[in-house]
C-alpha cells in the first residue's frame, strides 16, 4: 500500500483510480497516501464548470480537453452527478460525451456521485483534485451536478469558474437570480446555434454592467457551440486571461488558500462525524439520545452538548 502514492506520482492510471476510491470511501488507507502526495501538488490549474442541466457542460469539457491535448497538456476530469437520496445509488452519465478520450493516457476521467453533499460537489472532490494534480495533470476540470440553483460550492475549489447558460426560455435570468452571478469568472452562452443568443448575451451583459461597476475586471461573456467545436479556442484564451489577472492581483494565492480551508474543514467534518457515529464510539449513545428526544425526556440542544462535551473533554 505504501507505494500507491509513489505510483500516483508516476501517473499510473490504476493507482490514481485506486487512491481516489479509497479517499471517496473515507478509508484510513487514503490518509497515508494523501499525506505523501501533498508536497507534490499545487501545479495543476483547476477549472470549475457549472450550469443548468443539459447546458452542454460535458460537451464543453470534451472540446476543451481535446484542445488542451493538442497543446500537449495533461488533463484530469472530475464529473459529478447526483446521488439518489433514497437508494444511495447514482447514475453517472457524463462520460458519454467524452468516450473518445477514454484511451488517451494523457487524460484521466473520474465520475463521482455527490453522496449526500449539497452544493454541487462531493466530499472527496478536494482529495481527487490533489491526486490528479500530484499525478502530473496540468489541468483539472471539475463538472458540477447540473441543476443550477444553489450549486455554488465549485468556487471553493476552482481557480477559474465557468458558468454555462443556454439561450431561450428565460432561464438565464433565473439562474442569475439564484445567485450564480457572483461565482462566474467567465460566462458561456453555449448552444449559440439556437435561437435567442443575442438576447441572452444582451441580458447578461446588462446585468454584469450593474454588478461589476467599480470593479477592476468585468466578467466576460463568450458564446460557444460546443457540439461543433466553435468558440473553444477563444474560451481557452479567456481562461488564460483570467489566470493572468489572478496572478497579477494576488487573487490566485487567496483562492488557493480558500480551497485549502474548505478542504481542511471537510476533512475535520468527515472525521468528526465518523467518530461520533461509529459503532465503537458514540453510536449507541447517539441512538439512545434520539430516543430520549422523541420521548421529550431531553431536548436536542442538551443532547448535542452532551455528546460534544464527551469529545471535548
Amino acid at each position: 500500500m505504501n507505494d500507491i502514492a509513489a505510483k500516483v506520482l508516476e501517473g499510473d492510471q490504476r493507482s490514481i483510480a485506486r487512491l481516489i476510491t479509497l479517499a471517496e470511501n473515507g478509508s484510513p488507507l487514503a490518509a497515508s497516501g494523501m499525506k505523501k502526495i501533498h508536497p507534490y501538488t499545487g501545479n495543476a490549474y483547476v477549472i470549475g464548470i457549472t450550469g443548468v442541466m443539459g447546458s452542454g457542460k460535458s460537451t464543453l469539457i470534451y472540446e476543451l480537453t481535446k484542445e488542451y491535448r493538442r497543446k500537449g497538456l495533461k488533463v484530469g476530469i472530475i464529473a459529478i452527478d447526483p446521488t439518489s437520496p433514497f437508494s444511495g445509488g447514482a447514475l453517472l452519465g457524463d462520460r458519454i460525451r467524452m468516450m473518445d478520450l477514454a484511451t488517451d493516457d494523457g487524460v484521466f476521467i473520474r465520475s463521482m456521485g455527490t453522496r449526500g453533499m449539497l452544493g454541487g460537489l462531493t466530499s472527496a472532490v478536494y482529495d481527487v483534485v490533489e491526486i490528479l494534480d500530484a499525478s502530473g495533470k496540468d489541468l483539472v476540470l471539475v463538472e458540477t451536478v447540473g441543476v443550477g440553483q444553489a450549486e455554488v460550492d465549485v468556487i471553493k475549489i476552482a481557480d477559474t469558474t465557468l458558468v454555462v447558460l443556454v439561450p431561450g426560455l428565460g432561464d438565464s435570468i433565473q439562474t442569475i437570480k439564484a445567485g450564480i452571478m457572483e461565482i462566474a469568472d467567465i460566462y458561456i452562452v453555449n448552444k449559440a446555434d439556437r435561437f435567442g443568443v443575442e438576447q441572452a448575451v444582451a441580458e447578461l451583459e446588462s446585468l454584469i454592467d450593474i454588478a461589476c461597476t467599480g470593479k477592476d475586471r468585468k466578467t466576460p461573456v463568450l458564446t460557444t457551440v460546443a457540439k461543433e467545436n466553435k468558440g473553444i479556442v477563444e474560451l481557452i484564451n479567456e481562461i488564460e486571461n483570467h489566470k493572468k489577472h489572478l496572478k497579477k492581483t494576488k487573487m490566485f494565492d487567496a483562492k488557493r488558500r480558500k480551497r485549502y480551508e474548505a478542504e481542511l474543514v471537510e476533512i475535520i467534518r468527515k472525521r468528526l462525524m465518523n467518530f461520533i457515529f461509529d459503532e465503537s464510539t458514540f453510536k449507541g449513545k447517539v441512538e439512545s439520545l434520539i430516543d430520549q428526544i422523541s420521548k421529550k425526556e431531553v431536548d436536542p440542544y442538551t443532547a448535542a452538548e452532551e455528546i460534544l462535551g464527551k469529545i471535548l473533554k
Binding site: 443539459g54 447514475l91 452519465g93 457524463d94 458519454i96 460525451r97 431561450g168 461543433e228
Partner: protein, 558 residues
C-alpha cells in the same frame, strides 16, 4: 351518435346496473385485480355503452372505409378485395445465404420481400472496416456494395415482387444499390416498387442507428422524397416507424403520438424545401408494432388513420391518396420469450390478428425462436403460416373493420386520439421534434415507460406466461440457425477483389463530386447513384458524407 332520450335512458340504466347488479356480484366475489389498466396505463372500466361514445359524430369521426377521415380503413373493400401483403423481415449472413432464404419464403407463399441488414450496413460501414468486427451477418445480411445487392436478388423478379428495406442512416445509398441493380438488369426505375425505412427521427428517439446529425439527415431524406416522386414513382421513400419506439419500451399512446409527430415533421421539412404536398405525400408510409394488449392495438391503428388524414388536410393536402395512413405491422419482438419459446406462436397469432382487425396493409409475424437467435427456416415458415391461417380460415377478412361500432373500441380509439394531441402540444412547447430530441424528451418518456413496464413484470403486476408465472425448468430445444462460417471471409475477399478490379479513378471522381455536392445544396441522389454504379462501396460513400456532415452523439438519458 344517439338520440338524446335513448341516451338518457341508457345512462340511467347503467347507473342502476352498476349499483344493483355489478356491485352486488363484486360483494360476493371480489374482482381479480384492484385496478384494470391497459399497457398505456389507461384505466379500463367494467363496461362501455353508447354513453361512452355519444360525443362522436359518425360522419366526422368514423365515416366509411375509403372516405375521410378513413378511420374504418383506407380502401372501401379492404380485405374483401385484396389481402394484406405477407412480408417477412429476413436476412442474415452473406447475400448468397439470404438469397436462398428469400426464394424459400416466396415458394411458400410470401407475397413481398423485406430485407434485414447487419449492423455494419446499418451504420454505413463495409464488412472489412474496423468497427464491423464481430458483427458480420449477425442481425441481417451484409451489403457493402452493388455487387452484394446483385447477388441478393439474383433470380428474383424484382419487377414483380416489391421489396422493403429496413435501412435508415445510409438509406439513400442502399436504395441506390437497389435501383442500380434494377437498371443493370434492364428494369426501369419507374417499374420497381418497394419501401426504404429512411426514418431517422425514430433512430434518435429510440433505435439509435443514426449516423449524421439531424439537419443533414433531414436533408438527405427530403432528397429521397424529391427524387422518388419524380423518378421512382412506385417507391415508398419513407416508412415512418413506431415499431422501434415501442420496442424501446414506449406505451402504445407514445408510439402513436411520436410516430405521427415524426411523420408531420418530415412533411414540414419537405414543404419547406418547396415540394408540393400532394406530390410526395402519397409515397409516405408507416410502420407500427403489434403488442400484447389486443384492443388497445386495434384502437391505435384506427386512431392513427383519423389523426393523419386530419393533419394532412390541415397542411394543405387535397388528394385522397395524400391522406391515407398506409402501414406495415410487425408483431412485437420484445414480447417474445426465450422461456418455453413455442408459446410465442400463440402470442404472435393474437398480435397479428389485432393488426388485421386494425386494417394493416402488410404484416410481418415473428418467429418463435427470435428471443434466442435468428429464425430457423421452420420457425420462419410457421410464422408465415400463422398469417395464412388468419387470412384463409378465420373469417375476419369477410367484412371491413369488423370491430367498428364496438363501444369499447370506439371509446378507446377516440381516447388515443385525444392523448396523441396532448403529446403534440407538449412537443410543440419544446420547440418541435428536433429540439425535443436534443432535450431528450422522447428518450426520457420512453425510459420511464420501459422501466415501469419492467417493474410491473418484476413485481408480477403484469404477467408474462412462462417468465413470471407458469414457469418450467426445461432445457431449450429449438433448433437454432447456424450460419456459414466462411461467409465473412468470402465477403471480405469479395470486397478486396472489387476494389482491385473496378475503375478506381472513376470511383474517386464520383466520390469527389459527391463531396462537392454535399457541401452545397443540390439533391444528392444522382451523385450517389453515380458512385454506386461505379462500384464505390457503402463505407466509402458514407465516409464522404460523414466527413461533410459530421456524426451524431446522443444526449444521455436513462
Amino acid at each position: 351518435m344517439y338520440d338524446k332520450k335513448e341516451l338518457d335512458n341508457i345512462k340511467r340504466k347503467k347507473v342502476e346496473w352498476n349499483k344493483e347488479c355489478y356491485s352486488q356480484h363484486v360483494k360476493n366475489r371480489a374482482e381479480r385485480k384492484k385496478k384494470f389498466n391497459n399497457l398505456s396505463s389507461l384505466k379500463i372500466e367494467n363496461i362501455y355503452t353508447p354513453d361512452d361514445v355519444a360525443h362522436l359524430d359518425y360522419d366526422k369521426h368514423l365515416g366509411f372505409p375509403g372516405i375521410y377521415p378513413f378511420l374504418r380503413g383506407i380502401h372501401p373493400t379492404m380485405y374483401r378485395g385484396r389481402l394484406w401483403t405477407m412480408r417477412q423481415f429476413s436476412g442474415f449472413g452473406s447475400a448468397e445465404e439470404t438469397n436462398k432464404r428469400y426464394k424459400y419464403l416466396l415458394e411458400h407463399g410470401e407475397t413481398g420481400l423485406s430485407v434485414a441488414f447487419d449492423y455494419p450496413t446499418l451504420y454505413g460501414y463495409d464488412t472489412d472496416q474496423p468497427l464491423s468486427r464481430g458483427e458480420f451477418g449477425k442481425c441481417g445480411v451484409a451489403i457493402s456494395s452493388l455487387k452484394d445487392m446483385e447477388i441478393l436478388f439474383n433470380g428474383i423478379s424484382i419487377d414483380e415482387v416489391t421489396t422493403s428495406m429496413t435501412i435508415n442512416g445510409p438509406a439513400a445509398i442502399v436504395w441506390a444499390f437497389y435501383m442500380a441493380n434494377a437498371e443493370n438488369r434492364g428494369i426501369s426505375k419507374q417499374s420497381i416498387g418497394g419501401t426504404i425505412q429512411n426514418d431517422i427521427l425514430k433512430e434518435y428517439i429510440a433505435q439509435k442507428s443514426f449516423i449524421f446529425p439531424p439537419e443533414p439527415s433531414m436533408r438527405l431524406i427530403v432528397d429521397t422524397f424529391e427524387y422518388g416522386f419524380k423518378e421512382v414513382p412506385r417507391w415508398n421513400t419513407i416508412s415512418i416507424s413506431g415499431y422501434h419506439i415501442r420496442e424501446a419500451g414506449s406505451t402504445a399512446i407514445q408510439e402513436l403520438a411520436f410516430t405521427l409527430g415524426d411523420g408531420l415533421e418530415y412533411v414540414r421539412w419537405a414543404i419547406k424545401r418547396g415540394l408540393k404536398i400532394d406530390d410526395f405525400a402519397q409515397r409516405l408510409s408507416f410502420f407500427f408494432n403489434a403488442h400484447n394488449d389486443f384492443f388497445e392495438e386495434i384502437a391505435k391503428y384506427r386512431a392513427a388513420r383519423r389523426i393523419w388524414s386530419q393533419e394532412m388536410r390541415n397542411l394543405g393536402a387535397k388528394k385522397d391518396r395524400s391522406l391515407y395512413m398506409r402501414f406495415h405491422t410487425q408483431t412485437a419482438g420484445c414480447t417474445l420469450t426465450a422461456q418455453q419459446p413455442e408459446i410465442n406462436i400463440a402470442r404472435v397469432t393474437m398480435q397479428a390478428l389485432s393488426s388485421i382487425l386494425g386494417g394493416t396493409q402488410s404484416l410481418h409475424t415473428n418467429s418463435m425462436d427470435e428471443a434466442l437467435a435468428l429464425p430457423s427456416a421452420k420457425a420462419a415458415r410457421i410464422a408465415l403460416r400463422t398469417q395464412q391461417v388468419i387470412a384463409e380460415e378465420s373469417g375476419v377478412t369477410d367484412t371491413v373493420d369488423p370491430l367498428g361500432g364496438s363501444y369499447y373500441i370506439e371509446w378507446l380509439t377516440d381516447k388515443m386520439v385525444e392523448e396523441t394531441y396532448k403529446y403534440f402540444d407538449k412537443v410543440e412547447k419544446l420547440g418541435g421534434v428536433i429540439p425535443a430530441i436534443e432535450k431528450g424528451f422522447f428518450q426520457r418518456e420512453i425510459a420511464e415507460s420501459s422501466y415501469k413496464y419492467q417493474k410491473e413484470i418484476d413485481e408480477k403486476e403484469r404477467i408474462m406466461v412462462g417468465v413470471n408465472k407458469y414457469q418450467m425448468d426445461e432445457p431449450i430445444e429449438i433448433p437454432i440457425l447456424k450460419m456459414d462460417e466462411k461467409g465473412e471471409e468470402r465477403q471480405i475477399n469479395r470486397l478486396k477483389k472489387l476494389r482491385k478490379n473496378r475503375n478506381n479513378s472513376k470511383v474517386d471522381r464520383n466520390l469527389s463530386n459527391l463531396r462537392k455536392a454535399a457541401d452545397g445544396d443540390k439533391n444528392l441522389m444522382p451523385f450517389i447513384l453515380e458512385c454506386v454504379h461505379s462500384y464505390a462501396t457503402l463505407g466509402e460513400t458514407c465516409d464522404i458524407l460523414r466527413e461533410v456532415f459530421g456524426e451524431y452523439t446522443e444526449p444521455a438519458i436513462y
